[in-house]
């Protein structure tokens, strides 16, 4: 890459000593991006945006929050009632966590649909799964901080899971708690980690982006770039598209923050934590429900915990379970259908996770759990062998140059997203 020429002498002076502007130019102007990315490709930058929002609002909250069992609940109420615009910061942080998960889950399903985890993007994918795990840990510990009933009982139920580990389980649990129950030491360590982990996430996100920029984005056709005519510079094309997407996203996000801030939460968390009163239904935040359903689908505690972690672990090895050489589901007629079955399966698991473990719910939960694993461990390996993919276009330019014309066969589900 030739060093770009900068007109501004100050910029030139700095860039000669610290080439940040060259770097920016390289990553933004020269970085070739497929010209056919649809709106599902907006969710990566949205996730990065939400991470920053959570960190900024979190730091402001931390200036006013008191991590002590006697004061935590009241300090959050104090933030809402008496800190200028504290209510806004708190509602943005609280709903921001939910929207962060919505964005990241869509981002992940995008990757699954278009086969973005396949060579040469396996490490990029794995780093993404690591980010998801870190997010889950961060959100779980963050939810404990306001010290409401669900904070306390959620923490109790989830930390107790570790007691299922043979021999050392009990020791691990009291080590996590820093005592013999969820109590002040637990709150303190969760607070400390809740402050730390987001910055670890930032670190992994940097690696994620480095891996991305090594081979560039995948695209809806899932084929390689064949030359200059297939790509456009990231800036201004995708910057303006990302900003438009951000505007749309913020509008929906703000509808929740300002007009339904408690919709995604649980009313019980407005009751201060009370170790003597167990709420009738202990449910985690909505973004954990599918995993919670898998946990409860298995009658044995240890195996349930194993299954729950395995549900995430299969994502790590996904690039090696799906051996089909074709990336995009558009050219994989059967895969496209099982993809949507997987989406439905995850929604069903989420629904079951919110219900008490009784009656029919148990059976449906078990069925959905079996299907979840079957999708990854049985269906995908078999499809790699038996499915006959449709012929791939020769290049991105080919279908797109036709005046933005008909999308390739099977583009159906994504069609509307592309035209806007």
């Amino acid at each position: 890459m030739a060093a770009p020429k900068f007109d501004n002498p100050i910029v030139r002076w700095i860039d000669y000593r610290l080439p940040v502007f060259t770097f920016m130019h390289h990553e933004m102007h020269e970085y070739p991006t497929p010209k056919n990315l649809n709106y599902w490709w907006n969710f990566g930058s949205l996730a990065g945006f939400m991470l920053i929002v959570l960190i900024v609002t979190g730091i402001v909250l931390a200036m006013n929050y008191t991590p002590h069992v006697d004061h935590a609940f009241d300090s959050v109420e104090r933030i809402r009632r008496d800190v200028p615009f504290g209510w806004l910061v708190q509602f943005i942080h609280m709903n921001g966590a939910s929207f962060f998960f919505i964005v990241v889950y869509i981002h992940i399903f995008r990757g699954i649909y278009y086969g973005s985890y396949k060579s040469p993007r396996e490490i990029l994918w794995i780093l993404g799964v690591v980010i998801m795990l870190l997010m889950m840990a961060t959100a779980f510990m963050g939810y404990v901080l306001p010290w409401g009933q669900m904070s306390f009982w959620g923490a109790t139920v989830i930390t107790n899971l570790f007691s299922a580990i043979p021999l050392v389980g009990e020791h691990i649990v009291s080590w996590l708690w820093g005592g013999f129950a969820v109590d002040n030491p637990t709150l303190n360590r969760f607070y400390s980690l809740h402050y730390l982990l987001p910055f670890v996430i930032v670190g992994v996100v940097v690696l994620h982006v480095v891996a991305l920029h090594t081979h560039g984005s995948n695209n809806p056709l899932g084929i390689e770039l064949r030359g200059k005519q297939d790509s456009i510079p990231f800036h201004p094309y995708y910057t303006v598209k990302d900003f438009f997407g951000l505007g749309l996203f913020l509008t929906i996000f703000c509808l929740f923050v300002f007009f339904a801030p408690d919709y995604l939460g649980h009313p019980d968390n407005y009751v201060p934590a009370n170790p003597l009163v167990t709420p009738p239904h202990i449910v985690p935040e909505w973004y954990f429900l599918p995993f919670y359903a898998i946990l409860r689908a298995i009658p044995d505690k240890l195996l349930g915990v194993v299954a729950m972690f395995a549900a995430i672990a299969v994502l790590f090895i996904l690039p090696w379970l799906d051996r089909s050489p074709v990336r995009s589901a558009r050219f994989r007629p059967i895969y496209k259908q099982v993809f949507w079955l997987l989406v439905i399966d995850c929604l069903v698991l989420g629904y079951i996770g919110a219900k008490p473990a009784e009656g029919w719910y148990i059976h449906i939960g078990r069925l959905a759990t079996v299907y979840y694993f079957a999708h990854f461990l049985v269906i995908l390996p078999l499809l790699s062998v038996f499915e006959r993919p449709r012929p791939l276009p020769l290049s991105i330019g080919e279908p797109v140059l036709g005046g933005g014309g008909p999308s390739p066969p099977g583009g159906g589900s994504a069609g509307a997203m592309e035209r806007a």
């Binding site: 438009f244 505007g247 649980h266 005046g403």
Partner: protein, 256 residues
């Protein structure tokens, strides 16, 4: 229009996940009837007259048993009391303060910066006076029950004779909307229990609605700020997004 806007957004998210709030609302009692509240909707505001009547019901009836820890007397100015009137309300309360320079605790009249005094010194005293049941703090009652103010109004008006064959102990009453139907709160309201300064007839239903209105204020005194700012932010974002869309079309017109 405004409801449809929110409805669409909520439906969008509902499509993505099944929500615990929606799921856990299914209790064992009948659903509390939905009422019209002036604070609902994106332009919703509190009704000052209702808030003041509701405060009167709280102070004259509920405050005998229920605390309201998170409110300060200064909050009364937000429901439309003048500063002088709020000071009088505060001064009617006796606050235990101290220790003074001699090391003694003393009582003094309340100030605007004091929290609402609680009827009992601690939870055990509250239970002892209520047949073993703890009257919960009401500050966040409108947020910590599914149904919120609808539910509170329903419980306050939901007393009835127990169905055939259901035994009640002396300290329990039958309530249609309370989970399990056996509530340890004796029916707190009866017609004309309070005399409203503005002449509104004090029926049980009227008092229940007024006090629920006030409890919604107590749970979120900043609700009106939230709505007001929200409308501006959404308008701003819609305009901004429209401009960005036009810009996007323009930048991309060369590509297609």
């Amino acid at each position: 229009m405004r409801n449809r806007l929110i409805g669409a957004a909520l439906a969008a998210v509902r499509g993505l996940a099944v929500l615990p709030g929606a799921a856990s609302a299914a209790g064992d009692g009948p659903q509390p009837p939905e009422r019209e509240w002036s604070f609902n909707g994106i332009f919703g505001t509190f009704d000052r007259a209702a808030l003041q009547r509701g405060y009167q019901v709280y102070r004259e009836v509920c405050a005998a048993c229920h605390s309201m820890r998170l409110l300060y007397y200064r909050n009364l100015m937000q429901i439309g009391l003048s500063e002088a009137a709020a000071k009088v309300e505060a001064a009617n309360a006796f606050i235990v303060d101290g220790p003074d320079s001699e090391g003694e605790m003393f009582e003094r009249p309340g100030k605007l910066s004091d929290r609402f005094v609680s009827p009992f010194p601690n939870d055990n005293a509250a239970k002892a006076a209520n047949g073993g049941a703890l009257p919960p703090d009401l500050s966040l009652m409108a947020k910590n029950q599914a149904g919120g103010p609808d539910y509170i109004a329903a419980v306050l008006t939901g007393y009835a004779d127990p169905p055939e064959g259901m035994e009640m102990s002396d300290t329990q009453s039958y309530n249609m909307y309370y989970s399990g139907h056996r509530i340890a709160m004796p029916p707190p309201l009866s017609d004309d229990l309070v005399e409203y300064a503005d002449g509104t007839p004090a029926t049980v239903d009227q008092m229940a609605v007024d006090v629920s209105h006030f409890l919604m204020f107590a749970a979120e005194p900043q609700l009106e700020d939230r709505h007001r700012l929200g409308v501006k932010v959404i308008i701003f974002l819609l305009v901004l997004t429209g401009i960005l869309y036009a810009l996007k079309r323009k930048v991309w017109s060369a590509v297609h």
